[in-house]
């Protein structure tokens, strides 16, 4: 399955796989089997699988579980981050709708491994329509855990319309009944999380992958992907696209292959990783790997064709960030406002085009000076769009 080498980087051909959406009725067998295994052995297998968090940040999942297991404390928590708010991402909704048992099994596994008795699904308010079904499956699973002798209970909590709560410490603040304002790290949630107890926060798809790895084994899992990006991933594909939707693909493909498969033949740019990700122009498609060695993504792939104004795209993103910034740190709060005002001023000729260079500097300052991932990543879209489509921003 290994494709051509590009700059000595291993790449993979675009390959569809089918693990995540398989019927989830065998998940309990996987759990039963895993509960007979040693906790450290499970951690080692997860680390060996190379699984990295599927929310976008890409921390090694096995290591996260190991840190939480080793953290001192009798009370620990497992949280599933279902606050899927990154523009262009909709795969977690589909997972929760179609294979929730695979998610809950992953959470129970984590509970067993780290020694937690309580897990929470933090579901964004926008997905509340899923709640009745999820709660009934949760109740059923809680019964099954009891039967298996596993002291672990699943609960549900809701967001209330705040993108920043997808950031794990903001999510924890929100669960504690506060404004969703990210905390300084360290301490990390694995040592001081919910109610200051050791807490694992993983994305929906990450828990699903843990269940899959326990089912098929790390060896089989490692056949997929590249050294830096093991396994497969769900991609939420939208925009000017021949077939929008959710696709499960092996990691490590070239963006050019992706565009060939999903583009409409007139693709000008792809925004990889949502509003907080990077904009890749056509001329760089064949040098860009989708994965941790290239551009990582939580799954959001937005395709723009030549009819789209990249000024309009950037303006839309900046409005988004300006609204969703929690406002506690100045670089992000003021930076988002100034970037938005700035491109409007350049477009309307109140400012000269060289002002864009000042704005790029500001975006870079935000990257180092902002407190959390939100402010730190505004510059990703900003700089990549301004660099590659400067004339569209000015004229």
């Amino acid at each position: 399955m290994t494709g051509k080498k590009q700059n000595d980087m291993e790449t993979k051909k675009l390959t569809r796989v089918d693990y995540i959406f398989r019927p989830d009725n065998t998940c309990l067998d996987t759990l039963k089997k895993s509960l007979r295994r040693d906790r450290d052995e499970i951690i080692l297998e997860l680390i060996d699988s190379g699984l990295k968090g599927r929310g976008g940040a890409g921390f090694l999942t096995g290591l996260k579980w190991k840190l939480a297991k080793e953290a001192a404390g009798d009370v620990k928590y497992v949280i599933c981050n279902a606050d899927e708010g990154e523009p262009g991402t909709f795969k977690d909704r589909e997972i929760l709708d179609r294979v929730p048992r695979r998610v809950f099994t992953g959470m129970a596994l984590c509970g067993y491994v780290i020694g937690s008795k309580e897990g929470f699904l933090y579901l964004r308010a926008e997905y509340k329509f899923l709640a009745p079904k999820l709660m009934s499956i949760m109740a059923e699973m809680n019964q099954e855990f009891k039967k298996l002798g596993l002291d672990f209970t699943l609960n549900i909590r809701y967001g209330s319309g705040a993108y920043v709560c997808g950031e794990e410490t903001a999510l924890i603040d929100s669960m504690e009944g506060r404004r969703g304002e990210p905390r300084n790290k360290p301490p990390f949630p694995v040592t001081e999380g919910y109610l200051n107890k050791p807490t694992v926060v993983n994305n929906v798809e990450t828990f699903v992958n843990c269940t899959i790895i326990m089912g098929i084994g790390a060896e089989e899992y490692k056949r997929f992907g590249t050294d830096s990006s093991r396994g497969f991933k769900l991609f939420s594909v939208s925009g000017d696209c021949s077939k929008e939707g959710i696709y499960e693909l092996e990691l490590g493909m070239l963006l050019s292959d992706f565009v060939e498969e999903f583009g409409d033949g007139d693709t000008k740019a792809v925004q990889v990783g949502g509003a907080s990700g990077f904009c890749v122009p056509r001329k760089k498609f064949n040098q860009t790997i989708i994965g941790f060695e290239g551009i990582p993504t939580g799954g959001s792939m937005k395709i723009f064709n030549s009819s789209r104004s990249m000024y309009h795209v950037l303006h839309n993103y900046l409005e988004f960030f300006e609204e969703e910034s929690c406002g506690q740190c100045t670089p992000c709060r003021v930076g988002c406002q100034q970037l938005l005002k700035g491109i409007e001023a350049v477009k309307s000729k109140q400012r000269s085009s060289s002002y864009l260079d000042e704005l790029v500097k500001l975006a870079k300052v935000m990257k180092v000076a902002s407190k959390c991932g939100l402010g730190q990543s505004v510059g990703n879209a900003f700089v990549s769009i301004v660099d590659n489509f400067r004339e569209e921003i000015i004229y």
């Binding site: 523009p87 909709f90 319309g161 705040a162």
Partner: protein, 154 residues
């Protein structure tokens, strides 16, 4: 409203009086009353032994916790890029013309409030909107008007 006081008490009994009960209580108040006014927030503060400012500070942080009066049905039309590319503006105009209100306003009969919101997670089926918790996707101006009319007649 003694009514509100009772409801807040009930919810505190149900969810507990810890700080982490605050959001679930506010969320259920929204389900019941559509918005939380000053009086309600003061009640919650008293019940949970928090300052009213803490309650307001938390409530006002979240875009789905309304602290001003809204209609029985809150329409939230997604304005993020892909829905925008797929014609959200025309859908918005159709809704505005049907309800005779602009974004941010509530109809005179207090039945509808119209808002725009950020990514709803339906980009592949945009434009999308929520009416309270209900999702509507692949909207066209005509389809949106039909949906709104079905609520007018509710």
């Amino acid at each position: 409203m003694a009514n509100t006081e009772m409801l807040v008490k009930e919810l505190a009994d149900k969810y507990g009086r810890n700080r982490e009960s605050l959001l679930p209580i506010l969320q259920e108040l929204i389900d019941e009353r559509r918005y939380v006014n000053d009086e309600t927030m003061i009640n919650v503060a008293r019940e949970l032994d928090l300052s009213a400012a803490e309650v307001y500070g938390t409530a006002s942080f979240y875009s789905f916790i309304e602290t001003e009066e809204v209609g029985k049905y809150v329409i939230r039309l997604c304005k993020t890029i892909v829905c925008d590319m797929k014609g959200k503006e025309n859908v918005l105009q159709a809704i505005e013309n049907t309800l005779k209100i602009k974004v941010g306003q509530t109809t005179a009969d207090k039945k509808f409030t119209l808002k725009t919101t950020n990514c709803l997670g339906w980009c592949h089926k945009g434009p999308a909107m929520l009416i309270n918790d209900e999702v509507y996707t692949e909207l066209t101006p005509g389809k949106a008007i039909d949906i709104i009319e079905s609520y007018i007649n509710k």
